[in-house]
């Protein structure tokens, strides 16, 4: 029993890792048409996430693998049930991944423009669908007594799940804009900050709406009280409001920490609201998948616990080091200004 709780928590951690890290590179992709006014801007934006997106996306690969390993029934029912949504996500992610390597590989303007748009479409579409899919786990989908999915593609769409998708997109756009203020110089940095200031209140309001609705849904369909879900919601609220002020006060590092914290709190809220179920069944609530009836046996869970205990710290260490290596700012045309020269001497 404790092992199942541990792996449910670890999955929450993996999805958090995916949303916090890939969140900003999705955000940068979304903002390409808005902030990327010319080829130089777009090149800088691509370069800001170029070394990082691949490692970020692996969090998703691991979350998928870990679901398969720890909760095979959840994996089987969710992936076969959310078929069309996942098919779309795959297509969106494939064209997006290729845009990173292929965009700069030919000189034509048209080629570059097409791949930049591919990146943007993937960056908007994939998180939108992930938001809808994950929120559907809580909102409930029809599940048969043999634990198989009994609904259709349409069952994923309702006011709550669509709001989840939009909230995720807005949060990621904000997260990406703040990331750009950290990684760029000059005009692009200024415009990123401007965009972030505009996005922050919108993201906070929509995000808050989604979180409050989550508590309501958790009470109505998943038999949960307001407590403890209210705790991460409170953290999200503080972090989101903090983000608004920090962005406007140009405290870039802190603003990034605040948007990251908001995303963490959103994912945690969702998982806390789900527990102990992993996929709520609606209308037949008793058919819901739980951490007990969907999990692997203890032996496999123990093996994976040992593996995770050894490897997760190592992974975190070298990913942190990568972020350290790529901490410098990119592409400022006024990089030669006295301020930046001093910065170069002291920090670069």
């Amino acid at each position: 029993m404790t092992l199942e709780i541990l792996w449910f928590t670890l999955l929450c951690f993996l999805w958090t890792g995916y949303f916090v890290t890939e969140g900003f590179d999705f955000g940068v992709g979304m903002l390409l048409p808005i902030l990327g006014r010319d080829e130089d801007d777009r090149q800088t934006m691509f370069e800001s996430i170029g070394p990082l997106w691949d490692g970020n996306e692996v969090w998703l690969v691991i979350a998928g693998g870990a679901t398969f390993a720890a909760f095979p029934v959840w994996y089987a029912t969710m992936f076969s049930g959310f078929y069309i949504a996942l098919l779309l996500i795959l297509v969106l992610l494939i064209v997006r991944v290729l845009s990173f390597e292929w965009r700069a590989k030919a000189d034509s303007r048209r080629w570059k423009a097409v791949w930049a748009w591919m990146n943007t479409i993937g960056s908007v579409g994939a998180p939108l669908l992930w938001g809808i899919a994950l929120a559907s786990l809580l909102h409930g989908v029809p599940i048969a007594s043999d634990q198989s999915f009994a609904g259709g593609f349409g069952d994923l769409f309702n006011g709550y799940t669509v709001l989840a998708g939009i909230a995720v997109c807005l949060l990621f756009a904000l997260h990406g804009a703040v990331f750009l203020t950290l990684r760029t110089l000059g005009d692009l940095r200024e415009r990123s900050r401007h965009t972030a200031s505009g996005l922050a209140p919108a993201a906070a309001v929509v995000g808050a709406g989604f979180l409050v609705w989550t508590l309501v849904v958790a009470r109505d369909v998943n038999d949960k009280g307001v407590f403890p879900g209210i705790l991460p919601v409170a953290v999200a609220a503080v972090a989101a409001v903090g983000a608004i002020f920090l962005v406007r006060a140009a405290k870039e590092q802190w603003a990034f920490a605040a948007t990251a914290m908001t995303i963490v709190a959103v994912v945690v809220t969702l998982f806390v609201s789900l527990y102990p179920r992993v996929m709520v069944s609606d209308p037949q609530f008793s058919n819901s998948l739980t951490i007990d009836n969907a999990s692997s046996a203890d032996y496999s869970l123990t093996v994976m616990t040992v593996v995770a205990a050894v490897l997760v710290p190592v992974v975190l260490l070298y990913q942190a080091w990568t972020y350290h290596v790529f901490r410098t700012r990119l592409g400022g045309e006024d990089a030669g200004s006295p301020v930046d020269l001093i910065a170069r001497k002291t920090g670069g």
Binding site: G50, P51, V58, Y75, F79, S80, S300, V307, T328
Partner: protein, 469 residues
Amino acid sequence: MSTLASTAVDLARWQFALTTLFHFIFVPLTLGLAPLLAVMQTLWHRTGEERWLRLTHFFGTLFLINFAIGVATGLVMEFQFGMNWSAFSTYVGDVFGPPLAIEGLGAFMLEATFIGLWIFGWNRLSPKVHLATIYLVWLGTWLSAYFILTANSWMQHPVGYELNSQTGRAEANDIFQILFQGFVLFAWGHAILAGLMTAGFLVLGVACWHLRRGRNVDVFRSAAKLAIIVVLPLSAVQLWFGSHFGIYVTDAQPMKIAATEALWDTEQPAGFSLFQIGGFTVDDQTPSFDIQVPRLLSFLATGSFSGKVEGINPLQSQAERQYGRGNYIPDIRLVYWSMRVMAYLGTLSVLLALWGGWLLWRKKLEDAKWFQRAALAGIALPFLSNFAGWILTEAGRQPWVVYGLLKTEDAVSSTVSAWTVGLSLGVFVSLYTVLALIDLYLMRRYARFDPPEIGGEGEEGAPQPAPGY
């Protein structure tokens, strides 16, 4: 089973086969090019000779064009198990999941993170640390292959598990047996060697293209030399290793070998059929034309020229006694020819490598126009062998998805309709066709460029000021 349900199984199988084969165009190249890049960069690091750095950049670009598509199509593989094969996922998740999870956490993350550092780290990391990143990418790709093949080998030869009678699922009980069984060691070695040959022949072919035009001769002579040094011994090792894998498989999956040889009745000693017309179906067991090498199959399958090789008919009866009525024979024509395409092209690779080795020894590589043409065409050899080998191993396991435990027809997602699977098959076929064309275009384009000059610009990401965080 209803017609529509069996259509769904067929479509899901087609999708799995096509997406796997497509993914497997790029994977071996990654497995082989990563170490070759590491060697090139090390040679530059050690000798300070510029041509090795130029080659590292040149083949690094080709590596990255393919790496991207390998990453992109790999995700499809992971999701597909749950989407199309949910009964399989539920059945094997307990055993199959851990290797996949370890692969992600232990191998893929390593590869994905350090490839970013390698691409963008040229001016940010010290040369030594930067060199280390490509070695870690190499390690990541090889480990990744190992864990994926652990999962696949368990489907071929299930060990270290017990069946839970309550849930009807397989549950792991010995992870070490699952991770280190003979099947996975053979499969991994075979795949790694295939990867090295794929990359070796690519480097050789591209280098010869340049040599034939007298372009960048200094640089590409070194590349060709390195490639020949790699493929000459390894193509021979691969033939030897592959045949030992065959002996192992005879023991683990006798039906696969019998079907591969279209051997209907048990023979001792058994001859190896080089080429045959007919004799591939239950109703037509005697080929109308057949060229055989006496005793060779006995040797290939058992390691002894007088060994006994079991035939399809007795194995079918035995399977019916064990598992109940049904057809336990794979598509014989398909596996017979897959095996031969693989083996014949493998032999051709050895000959091409020998030819190259001889020219290298006589220092005639630059003038050997015919060899240069052949080497360019030779790029295709390993790719075709890889395809054939993969078809052989997967089609030869049928009708089982997990050998002896779960049939393919019982493994699909019962709730996903044939229409839905058909839609996704259509989507992937169209998308992958476009991607393949673009990849081919980019590979041709970059393979024809001169290797980048060193000094000044030309490396991604010039030194930057001001830390952002």
